[in-house]
Symmetry: D2
Subunit: 268 residues, 4 copies
């Protein structure tokens, strides 16, 4: 007889923009929200009975409906409200809300900062993931799509060589990566914005200052520094795929490449 | 003191095209291969010591170097060879090779099938994932990016209504989805191509014939039918996100929408 | 004094899916429509006066509102209806409607072709562009995203060599391209579907059969063959960017590449 | 007899990263370059004779080979060198070089700005297009992918209403756009960086300050301000597609939307 395994369903990519219209200026929040539920949905699969299936359209509506009152602070706080809302339905065992926040910066007008005009900053995304279950709430914060580069103090040597190895050992290379980093807090109540700024600042500073023997080494050096400085963190996870930059051989053209001319293998 | 958790690294998106040049005709294989390793790489992180770090460039070379002799059958078989190759390094605990195969179909010339000309078929990707560890090899086969649609015999009703629910109950709607399906075989030796064809054929046939009460219900009906008909499978996992098609209200324009005119909410 | 140059505005990416519900079976049409208008809109720019500015939201509504009655034949015919509709506003000098049609094929059920279940075919897009102006209507038909490959009978040699040239001359290479082709008809009334099938069939057949000295040469051979066979065409335009496939050097690994193993430089 | 029309060919997406390694700090340049040639290439089409066909691979090599000496200033200057280089081949009638520059900003280390570490800024791309022909060189500068938003002082009313119009007139809406702007200079010798900064600064300032009656109106107000302040420009072209933000109806949920909660219709 066929058994059902774990299952989850939900709504992805709910696009929410909130303009907080204060007396003297507006503030813009630009979010992408995903909602996923796990729980007792077996009869919806096996019997086509939807009595316990919260519609994904209702999930979307809920995000918009709760935004005026509850999207007033960090995305972590909004995520906690949303996840607890969905957990209130008894058939839900775990409600996971994932949030991305895209940045906008205020434009300058002739007479100073514009109260109501912005440009998208690009360059990285702030993220949060809130999982509410019967045993409590787990909050992870993070940053994604953060592209950084070291043009010196990065090496890669001493790796094993077999018959398929052609990569030369290098003491000086470009290291570039699009980093995705998430961290878990030890308590539920945190000054999310301060913690985010502290983690990001440490990440960028240590990335700038350290000498890298490999991407793995960089991950360790950066990760341990963050954990040491930010006592509110319990765990950090880092994904830093190498964006390879290869030296171009200019000798066929009568030139010399003094470590200056690279072909990037990934589109910007 | 900081402890290291699980870690993995590898090379993604290795693009391999092989042309098998037979006497009477060519055959084309078009693959994207990812390699990921887990194992004893702690000192590369903590001490910047790369003595055990197989370079990702070597991974890429290995895929190309082993293709002439070993990419002669299904991608599952090539993946097994690759995964076992990497597992032969003692520091590797698990080698995971993920493969996507893109389809090409032979063109017709004036005097029959062309021996050497093809067009990409698009429409879906065949996938495989091979994880080789000290306890053996686990092979999953799959299909991805398979977009299917039912224009009748699809309902969604009886779901719970709360104050944020606006979705009407419908007995007749479009159900469209981009399906990603993977399945695990009970043994290591399988006629991969026959199994793939059998699973895909059942999936499409049951999708075409069944009456759907929800996406969840469709997943169950299709999944149980596949497990019943394909005894070589132990497990199947299905992801079928709804590609919503909403009825357009034509009444403001003096028209009537007899279930014919839809706005698709996702780009093709 | 500042002068205004040419200007146009419009609505892009209107997603229309029409299900033609016949007694015995359904038919699916899946379109992306763009509308662009040129004409006497100067005061909307210089004075902020919108009295003549047809809202882009109205353009979108119009596409949906006219679809039940007028999307019954080829996209060229629907485009002509739409373009003429917008041209009926006297401030419009030229109305250009661009249409893409994505293919779906009928699924097979246990007892034959399903009346109401489909899969997206992928692999190419049928296109049309209708420009209606005071002097008449110009219709272009086309095909886009058609990826084809020749694994033999393709050379590239005899090109000029300067100090920056390193490419070897080759008598046998892979030629692959993502073709975009558009053609203009000599009259307004055409059997669009037959013409499209004829042009596409000739394109694929000649691509399969010809010997290519370069992409330019292929364009000429294919283009002239189409114009010769399809008397209803006045002009054809072809864009065939090279999707490079480079031979992998296997010698460092003790292997030999007999024209079989390639790295594709573009993702599928 | 078939006649050949206009034709062009070239190489797209040449990825060049240059690290200028100065004594005290590095500077990073991150470019995507396209090269396109028009000229006397007829025999390559009609006779498969490549004697005049500069290989696209040679174009790519040329960009890398000339970068050490010539990519030392603005992309416009590098583009002029490249375009003139290709024009030196007598069969070339026009050589067009298009350049995109992606921004990187210096990171801060513990003891100040890092000499060798950077992050990608995102948020916009600086562009240039140089067309060199027998009658001289035309340089266009520009900015692309600049996403800006006004949360007040933006209206859209007074537009014509027909039977397909449902859009309400609004005196207060979000206007957001992804702007692509290019401008042509009156002379060949320009302080490119100063001109770019001046145009961009004016664009953002006027966008922030002006009251918009429509996107068209905004284009005119911004464009005329730029032409007035930047005497070195002869012409400016602006593309500002509306990124729609629709008010969410919160009434079904017992809420009220005081112009605060929007659904964005385009992904960030």
């Amino acid at each position: 007889m066929t058994e059902m395994g774990a299952n989850r369903y939900g709504k992805e990519s709910i696009r929410l923009v909130k303009v907080d219209k204060r007396a003297d200026r507006h503030e813009v929040r630009d979010l992408v929200v995903d909602v996923a539920l796990e729980g007792d949905f077996a009869t919806s699969y096996t019997a086509g009975d939807n009595a316990l299936v919260i519609a994904t359209d209702t999930m979307k509506n809920t995000v918009y409906a709760l935004a005026p009152e509850h999207l007033t602070d960090a995305i972590e706080a909004f995520g906690i409200v949303l996840a607890r809302h969905f957990l209130a339905s008894p058939q839900v065992a775990t409600a996971t809300v994932t949030l991305q926040e895209h940045g906008w910066e205020r434009l300058e007008g002739v007479s100073g900062p514009a109260p109501d005009a912005f440009r998208r900053t690009g360059g990285m995304i702030r993220t949060a993931r809130v999982a509410a279950g019967r045993n409590g709430v787990v909050v992870e914060s993070g940053v994604a799509d953060l592209v950084v580069m070291k043009t010196a103090r990065s090496a890669f040597a001493g790796f094993p060589r077999d018959r398929f190895t052609t990569l030369p050992e290098v003491g000086d290379r470009i290291m570039a990566t699009k980093a995705t980093v998430t961290w878990r807090h030890s308590g539920e109540v945190v000054d999310w914005d301060a913690s985010y700024a502290g983690v990001l600042g440490t990440l960028l500073e240590v990335f700038a200052d350290h000498h890298s023997e490999s991407v793995q080494h960089s991950i360790w050096v950066i990760g341990t520094a963050i954990l040491e400085r930010r006592g509110e963190l319990e765990e950090i996870r880092m994904s830093m795929p190498n964006l390879h930059h290869w030296l171009v051989d200019l000798e066929p053209f009568g030139g010399e490449n003094r470590g200056e001319i690279f072909v990037a293998t990934v589109d910007p």
